[in-house]
């Protein structure tokens, strides 16, 4: 039982990290960034590239090295997100929503199959594998590395929340979310803030990608597809556009999946998750913590 809860929290913290980027971008420009899951994949691959370039990493140094790689990857994935926004989404600002969604699907394809063309279709094995001493907590087994990854995820999420609620930059983001035109009149450089939002969201997805690579040990060019869907589900459960809600949603989805798998069997895990998504959209489309938003005409 406790084991299920721990597994759920662990997977859920991955979901939450990826979902945050989704949620931030959606909150600001109401765009479902379909390619977000692929930025996660991009993060995993750029982490792989950095680690391979470093050569052999001794087991004792694993965690500090991984942190450094994590930082590097976050920067590079973040920049990729900025480029994506500049090339694919900015020319269409103000276009009908359908065009933007289709562009996002196109971007997702371009990243996935561009990566396939660059690295080949075979999965890669991560040069660093986190497996080590396990400890007993309340009758459940978990490794120190798992704890460390949950810790990193938590630190990132808390940092992001502080950034959005306490800083000048965060205030600008929230202003644009409310009304981009008026924010521009108040002297906010709207395009720059949107760019930086993409940077942050993509960096978080990249971090999750490296962590997933190091934990599961195997990466491939389609790994972002499913996690993108799951992250969207998490964002909807928590309330899309709402940062604490999204974190909560990720954890809730992780727990639901962990228990659902236990009851129904592993092959139904994804069906269960999407079933939950449809159920949530029917019963409470604003999510657990989202406010009811009335559409203005």
């Amino acid at each position: 039982m406790t084991q299920l809860v721990w597994n759920g929290l662990f997977v859920g913290s991955f979901y939450a990290l990826v979902a945050l980027g989704y949620s931030m971008v959606y909150g600001i420009i109401k765009l479902l960034n379909f390619a977000h899951g692929d930025l996660y994949m991009l993060g995993a691959f750029s982490g792989f590239a950095v680690l391979s370039a470093l050569g052999g990493v001794s087991a004792a140094m694993t965690l500090p090295v991984l942190m450094a790689v994590l930082l590097l990857t976050m920067v590079s994935t973040g920049l990729a997100g900025v480029v994506l926004e500049r090339v694919a989404y900015r020319p269409l600002r103000g276009a009908p929503r359908l065009s933007l969604l289709i562009t996002a699907v196109g971007a997702s394809f371009a990243i996935e199959y561009g990566m396939r063309a660059a690295t080949g279709p075979d999965p890669r094995v991560y040069p660093v594998r986190l497996s080590g001493t396990s400890i007993e907590v309340f009758g459940a087994r978990l490794t120190l590395q798992q704890l460390a990854l949950i810790g990193v995820a938590l630190v990132l999420m808390v940092g992001l929340n502080l950034l959005v609620t306490r800083t000048r930059e965060g205030r600008a983001m929230r202003a644009i979310a409310l009304d981009p035109r008026t924010s521009a009149l108040m002297g906010i450089d709207v395009n720059a803030v949107i760019s930086r939002t993409f940077f942050l969201g993509s960096a978080l997805a990249g971090a999750a990608g490296v962590m997933a690579g190091a934990y599961y040990g195997k990466i491939d060019f389609l790994m972002g597809f499913l996690i993108g869907l799951k992250a969207f589900t998490a964002a909807v459960i928590g309330g899309i556009g709402n940062i604490p809600g999204t974190m909560l949603g990720g954890l809730v989805l992780g727990l639901l999946e962990s228990f659902g798998t236990y009851w129904l069997g592993g092959e139904w895990r994804d069906v269960f998750a999407f079933g939950v998504l449809i159920l949530f959209l029917t019963v409470r489309p604003t999510g657990l913590l989202g406010e009811r938003v009335t559409e203005r005409v």
Binding site: A95, L98, V105, F109, A110, L229
Partner: protein, 326 residues
């Protein structure tokens, strides 16, 4: 300021003030469709090899899928990313019925229509009340649910699927003729639907849902009708597919397939029936011609989607509304 600076162009109304070029006259010509059908029917007299017939039949089924998705995406403006789900529901329903009860494929059609309508209602009813971008993701999730379910249930044959489905006809050439005729009827049906009162309501919903609601269009009902129509078109295309390949497995109905159909609709021109037919033919025959570039195919698809949306959102053969001319 330079003296030669031109006055800003007045915003153009679609199809209204634009001078007619030879190309746009061709686009408006009503006989184009008939000529296209004649060409399609003449192909077997030029080349009737099994390979040609096979790719041409596949292309015809693809045209039917695209014209069905066009009702949902093009006319009504609802992005459906799991369209292959209905294709799968149709193919599996007819495949299971035909192999279990020894029925001819044609006899399964009523059951397929009933099942796809039910599937359309199940997925559409809760989600069509929501914002359109939620619908995109939910349909994507639904597509995955159908595929995974087909992969895990005993009745659908699991990962190996269903085989030994009876064909519609005996020879590849007659199958091609039957398919082309059925697809032509489906395309004409979609086109007539677009011009009907319901079709006008669909386009109104696409342009401005709130204004449509305010002028008395029951938007939810219109969206559901469009969604169900799309589901039925997809399901019937599934029957044709099952009859053509005689063995179906979950791998035929991936997200990639849904996205390819969407690509055809977007490239041809959303909401334009001749455009969508053209787009579907291009998308399904291009990989046969460019076998060497197979590795880059989906990469090119993705980039093309972005470019089309930025440079030419109306597609290759844009929809022209006759109402704008009045």
């Amino acid at each position: 300021m330079n003296e030669t600076t031109k006055a800003p162009e007045a915003p153009r109304k679609i199809g209204a003030q634009r001078p007619q070029t030879r190309l746009s006259k061709l686009f408006d010509n009503r006989w184009v469709g008939l000529v296209g059908l004649l060409i399609a029917l003449l192909v077997p007299f030029v080349n009737a090899s099994n390979y040609t017939m096979s790719i041409m039949t596949t292309a015809a089924v693809f045209v039917m899928l695209a014209s069905g998705l066009n009702i949902v995406v093009g006319f009504t403006g609802l992005l459906d990313l799991g369209y292959a789900a209905f294709f799968a529901v149709g193919a599996y329903t007819s495949g299971i019925l035909a192999t279990r009860f020894d029925l001819p494929l044609v006899a399964t059609v009523p059951a397929v229509i009933v099942v796809t309508v039910i599937a359309g209602v199940i997925i559409g009813a809760p989600t069509l009340r929501l914002r359109s971008d939620y619908l995109a993701i939910v349909t994507l999730g639904f597509g995955e649910i159908i595929r995974i379910t087909a992969n895990n249930l005993p009745v659908t044959g699991g990962p190996s699927g269903i085989y030994g489905i009876p064909g519609l006809t005996d020879s590849p050439v007659s199958l091609y003729f039957v398919t082309v005729v059925i697809v032509a009827i489906a395309v004409i049906g979609a086109s007539r639907l677009g011009r009907s009162r319901l079709g006008r309501a669909m386009r109104f919903v696409r342009e401005d849902e709130d204004a449509a609601e305010a002028t008395g269009v029951h938007t939810y009902r219109v969206k559901l009708a469009a969604y169900i129509a799309g589901a039925v078109w997809g399901g019937l295309a599934g029957v044709l597919f099952a009859g053509q390949v005689s063995a179906i497995s979950p791998n035929s109905f991936t997200f990639l397939y849904s996205a390819t159909v969407l690509m055809a609709v977007v490239l041809g021109g959303m909401g334009s029936v001749p455009g969508v037919v053209l787009g579907a033919i291009i998308i399904s025959l291009l990989p046969e011609l460019l076998r060497d570039a197979a590795d880059y195919r989906f990469f090119i698809f993705g980039v093309l989607l972005i470019i089309v949306m930025i440079v030419r959102p109306q597609g290759l053969w844009p929809a022209r509304s006759k109402e704008a001319l009045k």
